[in-house]
Amino acid sequence: MATTRNAANQNITVSAAGAINYPSQPCFLATYSASAADATGDGTVVTLKPDTITYNVGSGYSAASGIFTAPRTGKYSFICGVTSGLGYFITNNALLWKAIATSRTFTLAQLNPYQLALGLANESINASFYVDMTAGDTLYTTFVVTGGAKTVDILGSGFRTFMSGKLEV
C-alpha cells in the first residue's frame, strides 16, 4: 500500500496517486481589493500593499505594511503583478518597479509607461524572481511613475495588482 503521509507529521502529504502537497510551507498571495487613486505620477514612490490575503502560510506577509518577512532561511520565489493607469499622459515617461529585499534589490521593470499604454488604457506588468533570504529578512515592492501630476492609480479588484511568494528550497 502506498504511503500517503509522512509518518512523523503532515508537513508533506502524498495523495494515493502521488500528488504532493506541503501544507505548512511558507507561502502567501495577496491582492489589492480596490484601486488606490492618484498614487503616483509625480515621482512619488509607492510601497505596494496588497491588502486582501488569499493565503498566508507562516504569517510572513503583512497587509498593513506590504512587507514579507521570511519565517525561515532559504531560497524564495516571488511572483508579482502591477496594473496601473486609468490613462497615462505623454509626460509620464518613466516607470520604475522594484523589489527590495534585505540581501539585494531587484529592478522588475523600467520603461516608458505612456508608450506602453499609449495613453489609452491601463497597463499590467508581471515579474518573477528568486531571492536568498535569512530568517527575518524582508522583501517589499515599490512603484513610481514620474514626469507628470499625481494622477496614476494602482488598480485593484480581482488579481490586477498582486504579490505572492513561496519558500522553494
Binding site: A7, A8, V14, E123, S128, G158, S164
Partner: protein, 169 residues
C-alpha cells in the same frame, strides 16, 4: 526525520541528494502552428496549446482541445505562460490574462502597436493560484481596437506561445 519515501517513488532522491517528484501534477504545452485571425475586435480568445510536452499527473490535467487545466488535487499552483502575436496592425489594447475559477489575473496589458517589433510582440507572465480540486485555469488573450485580424504565433519545434503549470505546495 524521514528523508526517503520507503514504499513508493513519488519522491526520488539521487545519489547527490537532488530530489525529483516524478508524478507531481504539472504540465507544459505550446502552440505548434500559427492560429490566424482570433482577436482584435475584443474577442477573448482561449489559447489552445496543442503540443503537450508533458502532462505529469495521475490523470491528464491539461486538455489541448480546450486549453483548460483542471487541478487534480487542491493546492497552490505555479503557472508560467507566454504569447507571441502578430498582425497587430492598429490594435490599441492587448490584454493577456490567466482566467481561473478563483479570479482573473492580469498578466500583461498594454497598447501593443507601439512596442511591437515588425508587428510581432511576445510577452510572458507568471502567477501563483490557490485551487481546489477540479478548479480550472486557462490562458486568454483579448485584443481590441481593430478587426479580427490578430494572429497567435506557434512553431512546430520551439515554444513561442506556451502554457505551463505545476502543483507548488
Amino acid at each position: 526525520m524521514a528523508t526517503r519515501n520507503s514504499e513508493n517513488s513519488y519522491i526520488t532522491i539521487g545519489a547527490a541528494n537532488e530530489i525529483n517528484y516524478p508524478v507531481q501534477p504539472s504540465f507544459m504545452a505550446y502552440l505548434g502552428a500559427q492560429v490566424a485571425d482570433v482577436t482584435g475586435d475584443a474577442t477573448a480568445y482561449t489559447v489552445l496549446c496543442d503540443q503537450v510536452v508533458w502532462d505529469q499527473a495521475p490523470t491528464p490535467s491539461y486538455t489541448a482541445a480546450t486549453g483548460i487545466f483542471a487541478a487534480p488535487v487542491a493546492g497552490r499552483y505555479h503557472f508560467s505562460c507566454g504569447i507571441t502575436m502578430s498582425s497587430i496592425g492598429a490594435t490599441t489594447i492587448y490584454f493577456m490574462s490567466l482566467v481561473t475559477t478563483g479570479g482573473t489575473y492580469s498578466l500583461f496589458q498594454c497598447s501593443p502597436s507601439v512596442i511591437a517589433v515588425g508587428g510581432v510582440l511576445t510577452v510572458t507572465g507568471s502567477a501563483y493560484v490557490n485551487m481546489a480540486a477540479g478548479n480550472t485555469a486557462k490562458l486568454v488573450i483579448t485584443c481590441s481596437g481593430t478587426t479580427k485580424t490578430v494572429d497567435i504565433e506557434g512553431q512546430a519545434t520551439d515554444p513561442i506561445t506556451w502554457f505551463s503549470g505545476m502543483l507548488a505546495c
